[in-house]
Amino acid sequence: MKTFIGIDLGSTTTKAVVMDERQRVLGHGITNSRSNYDTAAAIAKQEALISSRFFLFRKRLEEEGALQSGLPPFLAQLERDFRLEQYLEQLADLEQVCARNVATAKFGDAAAGVSSALCRLFQLLKSEAAALFAPGAKRKSDFFRDVAGAQYLALGEPVAKDAGVRYDQLLNVFDRSIIEVENRVYGESTSRHLLAALERTYQALPETLAHREKISSPIRSVLDTPLDETYVIGTGYGRARLPFSKEHVRSEILCHGLGAHVMYPGTATVLDIGGQDTKAIQVDPHGIVESFQMNDRCAAGCGRYLGYIADEMNMGLHELGPLAMKATKTVRINSTCTVFAGAELRDRLSLGEKREDIMAGLHRAIILRAMSILARSGGIRNEFTFTGGVAKNEAAVKALTDLVRENYGEMTLNINPDSIYTGALGAATFAWRAVEEEGKSAEHREKEKVAA
């Protein structure tokens, strides 16, 4: 079947969206940008295609009526099992690379000890793997580097102790190996993993075995349907690094504008706060950008600022918002400059202000900066759509809601749970339009017009 793919190469994460001929979103994929945009683009796209397969499974199985109310848990189990299969393959790969790297690591006499400790460690990693993907298991991140890294760190320490080798030597081997493994694309394995996962799922949910044929055959038929990459459009910070021609690249400002319009057709103003950009975009009723403003070369007040603050506070990025929500007052923070804010943060702490109140102030400071960029772009008009990674932060949303009400009155504020995919959605829509609406005549038509 025809698919239209949008890829958004952000500074922090790379996102992909797959769309079908009816402009229906089939799947999303996300991965860390790992300062290797080519791989990040390939992996995000592959993830989105996998998520598209799951979407198509669900549709087909719904049509078959095989599992009725048992379908959602079945698919959830299948997805977890699929992730487990993926994880196990990457883990096996990591083990091989680690073994190779021990040989070249110049550990001298310690090498043999490190090798056997690694053997033991990978046995443990494999035996713990299933628990990571069990129902209800919480993972801080879905990226292999983070999941495997956290496990390796936690299990490695006692293993090193027992084996009498230095823990830092084990860590050294991991650091030298993870980049190679993380930059590998396992595109060929998808079908194999899915079929293996299916077997695991039948075992996990024995009651579904009775419908085995009714389930397996539509899944196979979906797997046998090739997903053609009819047209791909790339956007985002790293778009110049995409192996695409200019025709296949769009500015992220246009993509965010269009993506927001597709999500909420009433959108007039878009605010996007990403890793290192804050963009204010005005769109017309067709999603065409009318004007925009963005931060200059300084990334003050963007997502990175929150990352830095989280590090300063020894917290996870996702814990900042919830902490700020506990505030009973808002401490005034004057600076959105990342460096100055760090100093201001310590200054407030030393004055005895509470962490949550300072956090509320920091979130307000970011949003104040965004308000200024919005004002420069022409202000906020109804409806107002907030996108980007920071839109997931409840404290940022609260600060924005308050400031919009204070400055512009009541407005419809749209925030989509999938807002991180806005740029990729816009890009996929451009890909769809390029083929379905414009064919290859888009460039041609413009040339004619200029000549006339």
């Binding site: 500015s251 246009l254 065409i288 950008v289 004007s291 413009e446």
Partner: protein, 432 residues
């Protein structure tokens, strides 16, 4: 991280007029370097509203500190000069032309071409619009203790030049400026000599206007911003009134006429423009430290600037003003009063709207200068008003004149590409 791509050094394509200009400029720096040993006096003055023909009447070798700063910027020497000036106590917010000039002095008074840059004998402060000029020459005077003569040019607050304003400038020329220049130079003022220079100016001005207005054609044979900064070089600086400059403009006009005949677009450092896709009007000076990279971001995407306000900072000629030998001092006064920098806000907006219409441009781009407090203020208001009046899309980028720290290539490229795609999208929507 992958290593930075190795830059291939390509030969720069230059027309005959460009070689001539290069020769003029380097000759001027030679003359400056040798002036004092040859017993000549040096004047320093600013570009907007400069009285070059008058200074020529007193045999001054002429220095323009702004162009010295931009020449240092083009040669990537300004960064160090600016940091030296900051270390000497000048704030980060101070105009970077000023800091480049001060840094140049601190570094031992070597000009952009590597030749000595001797102290001026007189500072002619005929500032228009920009108050920083006054402070700049205060600093230079403090350093060199040289004679300073001030010509106060009233701002066009009401959007017009009244006879009283003109008479006020003429009176200062007669009573203050000319006597001082006579005293410093030891040369007696000869109004017929001035008339002769003004005749030369007028010829050059006529040719320049023809060149700049050729951009009304499709495709435009010139770039009215990146190309125009070369075209305005001689006439806005030490050469207006000099027959050599007149010859330059004759040659330039001929070259442009040939381009028109051949149906060619503008010349770029990499040869002919790849083809006009977007026609823009630009407000604000270019960035000098990354001038070539900045320009490339336009022609790579098929953008041509058809008109710019920056190419009018040293004189607005396209609405009819010419120096007039029959009214020498009066026309000098009107010239100073009419510079782009001396126009009020509504006049600037009118001018931009007129350009958008007459040059059939797709939209307005503003390059806002971080360290220019005088002219960056209010640019967003200009942008909104122009959008409102013309219905054409506008965009805003930020950089600096000569501070390399304020040029973020990825950020500017991102905004420019977005803007071009926005124009394209609007065009497609309008055609559909």
């Amino acid at each position: 991280m992958s290593p930075a791509p190795v830059k291939e050094k390509k030969p720069v394509i230059k027309d005959d007029s460009m070689w001539l200009q290069k020769e003029l400029i380097s000759r001027n720096y030679h003359e400056l370097a040798a002036a004092h040993t040859q017993g000549k006096k040096i004047s320093a003055t600013f570009v907007p509203g400069n009285l070059n023909e008058l200074l020529m009447c007193f045999d001054f070798v002429r220095r323009l500190p702004e162009t010295d700063a931009l020449q240092s910027g083009l040669r990537k020497k300004s960064g160090k000069m600016i940091m030296d000036a900051e270390r000497d106590g000048h704030s980060e917010d101070v105009c970077t032309y000023v800091k480049t000039d001060l840094g140049m002095m601190l570094q031992g008074e070597t000009g952009p071409t590597g030749e000595p840059m001797p102290r001026p004998d007189v500072l002619l402060l005929s500032y228009t619009g920009c108050f920083t000029f006054m402070k700049w020459f205060e600093l230079v005077r403090q350093k060199y203790d040289c004679e300073t003569v001030m010509l106060h040019v009233p701002y066009q607050g009401d959007g017009r030049i009244s006879p009283a304003m003109r008479d006020y400038v003429v009176k200062q020329l007669r009573e203050k400026v000319i006597p001082t220049l006579e005293r410093v130079s030891g040369v007696k003022f000869d109004i017929d000599r001035l008339r002769q220079y003004l005749k030369e100016s007028q010829k050059a001005e006529e040719d320049l206007v023809q060149v700049l207005q050729s951009a009304k054609r499709r495709p435009s044979p010139i770039d009215g911003y990146f190309g125009a900064v070369y075209y305005i070089g001689p006439i806005f600086t030490a050469f207006r009134g000099d027959p050599e400059a007149t010859r330059y403009y004759q040659l330039l006009r001929k070259e442009i006429e040939e381009r028109i005949q051949a149906g060619k677009g503008p010349v770029t450092p990499e040869g002919d423009h790849p083809g006009e896709k977007y026609r823009l009007v630009v407000e604000g000076p270019p960035n000098w430290t990354s001038f070539r990279d900045f320009w490339k971001m336009f022609y790579d995407e098929g953008a041509v600037v058809v008109a710019s306000t920056y190419s009018k900072v040293g004189g607005v000629y396209d609405f009819g003003f010419r120096h007039d030998a029959s009214r020498p001092l009066e026309s000098l006064a009107e010239y100073c009063l009419g510079c782009y920098t001396n126009l009020n806000f509504p006049q600037r907006i009118d001018m931009i709207c007129r350009y958008l219409d007459e040059y059939q441009a797709d939209g307005l781009l503003i390059n806002s200068i971080k360290s220019c407090n005088s002219f960056s203020a209010g640019q967003l208001l200009i942008l909104r008003e122009v959008e409102k009046r013309t219905g054409k899309p506008a965009a805003f980028i930020e950089s600096d004149l000569v501070d390399p720290r304020y040029f973020s290539a990825a950020n500017i490229k991102n905004r420019l590409e977005s803007y071009f795609q926005m124009i394209k999208q609007k065009r497609m929507a309008a055609a559909a």
